[in-house]
């Protein structure tokens, strides 16, 4: 049979006709639309129920009062029977917010969190940029191994990596042993349980989050741009500042946000490395919730934390969205 005869004898209609008949009960467009809606609905519903709705509950709870009950708070809306007519009564309680705004302890914890997160982000950027840049300069055969080594800590437990610093920083720890051995100090330094330890912990824990986006945007820069700059009479150092750094800016912004936002709400690091003086908002929330069992107040803390982070989070979302579209 020649190819042409084969074409004439067959036609493309040899399909399972009965299946096709059943499928035809629903027009294809309707089936396509159903499939699409199903695809969208499943993750949408899950995230709506388990991510969005809980925030509304937090918001609601931040307006109620702590009570000795289970759950330990008063309702803000309840059905009351007054003179025979049943109606809904709202009790909006602003005392949590008043406390959170007026009490200097809480005010200090927000400012502290923002300050510590900002400084740590700047330091992480200062350390991360040279590492990311150096990675793009390494020969290709080494680069994969080095990149792996930079990512590896990101996969290992956060808690364990913070824990590792305790034995380094404590009074009789490795750092003080080293400094004493070198003759640089006579008295052990108090580092653990200070803000210094918190800075160090954040920089250490979040460094991979900074290096990866930086590397990604630096790696994308065409080598010939630097060559063109050199050809046009620009010295390497200057070319680095006027070509490389501006082109790496998206990576700088992404990396900084990935460090700053979670650092503001950090709990483990200030709790394990910081002292009683280094109060951060995450730690405050945790202790209000677990130690004082004041659920409404900790909800209030969460709302304020969220308000503080709205701008950077929206910025981050924009960045992500541009990546998915572009």
């Amino acid at each position: 049979m020649t190819a042409r005869e084969a074409v004439e004898t067959s036609g493309a209609a040899e399909r399972g006709r009965s299946v096709a008949a059943i499928r035809r009960l629903l027009p294809e467009e309707v089936r396509g639309a159903l499939g699409r809606h199903f695809l969208i609905a499943v993750p949408f519903l899950w995230l709506g129920v388990f991510f969005l709705a809980p925030f509304l509950i937090v918001l609601k709870l931040s307006f109620s009062e702590v009570a000795l009950a289970m759950p330990p708070y008063t309702p803000i809306a309840e059905w009351v029977d007054e003179a025979g007519s049943i109606h809904l009564r709202f009790t909006l309680n602003l005392s949590n917010y008043l406390l959170l705004v007026e009490d200097s302890l809480y005010r200090r914890s927000y400012l502290n969190s923002l300050g510590i997160a900002a400084v740590s982000t700047a330091v992480t950027l200062a350390i991360g940029f040279p590492i990311a840049y150096a990675l793009t300069q390494v020969a290709r055969r080494w680069r994969f191994a080095l990149l792996m080594l930079a990512i590896l800590p990101f996969w290992t437990s956060f808690l364990i990596r913070v824990y590792a610093w305790i034995s380094i920083l404590k009074t009789e720890g490795f750092l003080n042993q080293l400094l004493a051995w070198l003759g640089l100090i006579s008295e052990p330094l108090q580092i653990l349980n200070t803000n210094w330890a918190v800075y160090l912990g954040i920089v250490y824990s979040y460094l991979p989050f900074m290096v990866l986006p930086l590397y990604a945007s630096l790696e994308r820069i065409d080598v010939s741009l630097m060559e063109a700059a050199a050809d046009l009479g620009c010295r390497p150092i200057k070319a680095f500042w006027v070509i490389t750094v501006p082109l790496a800016l998206p990576g700088v912004v992404a990396g900084s946000l990935l460090v700053f936002i979670p650092a503001v709400g950090e709990f483990v690091i200030p709790d394990l490395l910081g002292g009683s003086g280094s109060i951060m908002i995450g730690k405050t929330l945790w202790s209000e919730f677990f130690n004082n069992r004041d659920w409404p107040l900790s909800s209030g803390v969460a709302v304020i934390l969220l308000v503080l982070l709205v701008v950077p989070i929206v910025l981050f979302q924009r960045l992500q969205l541009r990546r998915t579209v572009g």
Binding site: E8, S10, A12, A13, G16, A20, E28
Partner: protein, 382 residues
Amino acid sequence: MSRDAERLRRGRAAWAELAAQPFIRVVGVSKSFGSYAAIDNVSLDIYRGEFFALLGPSGCGKTTLLRMLAGLEFPTAGRIEIDGSDMTRVPPYERPVNMMFQSYALFPHMSVEQNVAFGLKQEGCPRSEIARRVREMLALVQLEPFAKRRPHQLSGGQRQRVALARCLVKRPKMVLLDEPLAALDKKLREKTQFELINIQEQVGITFVIVTHDQAEAMTVASRIGVMERGRIVQVATPAEIYEAPASRYVAEFIGDVNLFEGRLLDTANGTARIRCDDAACDFLVEQTVNAEPGATVWLALRPEKLAIDLASPEAGAVNQLSGTVLDIGYLGSLSVYHVQLATGKQVTAVETNRARLVRRPISWNDQVHLTASPEAAVVLLR
């Protein structure tokens, strides 16, 4: 083969027969993406066994039109019929049409054999038949030794043939080719164009190809549809498109052309007289022009239809221009002359280099004379 050839000749002439039924009908189709109209009210008939080319610059909507034939996009308005049935809203997996993608879109995790068998498997074809048809098809495209290879183990030309085989094995009513040769280098592309024609003649399936390369369209196609900004501006055979373009756009897009703007003086006995100020001359063109005297028209003159000479033509010669040689491009087989007329207008003339070049008869700054016969030029109304 003789029967095939005969059928093909008839098939190729189908659009010329009044009684012939179009095989594919595109009726008043429009497609917009948001506010952007990619296709604007296009109607087109394609006949059985044709090799039809959609030609146009990038962004003219040719790929969108092809994707609507494949069912990968649905028209915003209008109707598409294939072999008498309405296919306007039928999804790609239910259409008797297969497409060869510009990137070939081979499945990277499947061997050549599995790639070709994929479409038959979707039809629920029996195993033994799949094996036989895949074998036949790989023989047709001369890829049998590579059956077990993965796409990334093939060269560009081999991948292109796998993609073609994958379309043909389903014996579709129509094969759509989206810039099928764009990824190949020039020599291989030219060779493959003829392979494509041979394969199409062997299988007798209707081919629709999209390309921005006019030489490619003219080589492979029986008819060409030239597109401009979402519309089809001319549908004709390659020779008609070249020799009788419907508009300045078509004339300029296909090949090189000298265009003169002029005023129609009169038309008598099938000969039009046109006054061109930028050539400082009256042209005589053997063509019936449907316009009133006084109308603005354009004269298209292909460079190879202009004769160039140092000597003045004999008295009484028509359509003659004279000017100075600005530039000469020596291309080996041809020489291209850029001549500036006294009016300042530049004209291009091409001469075949018949004799081996011993000395150059025409040189820079030479005063030359250009002549064109009355049947060489075309009068365009738009």
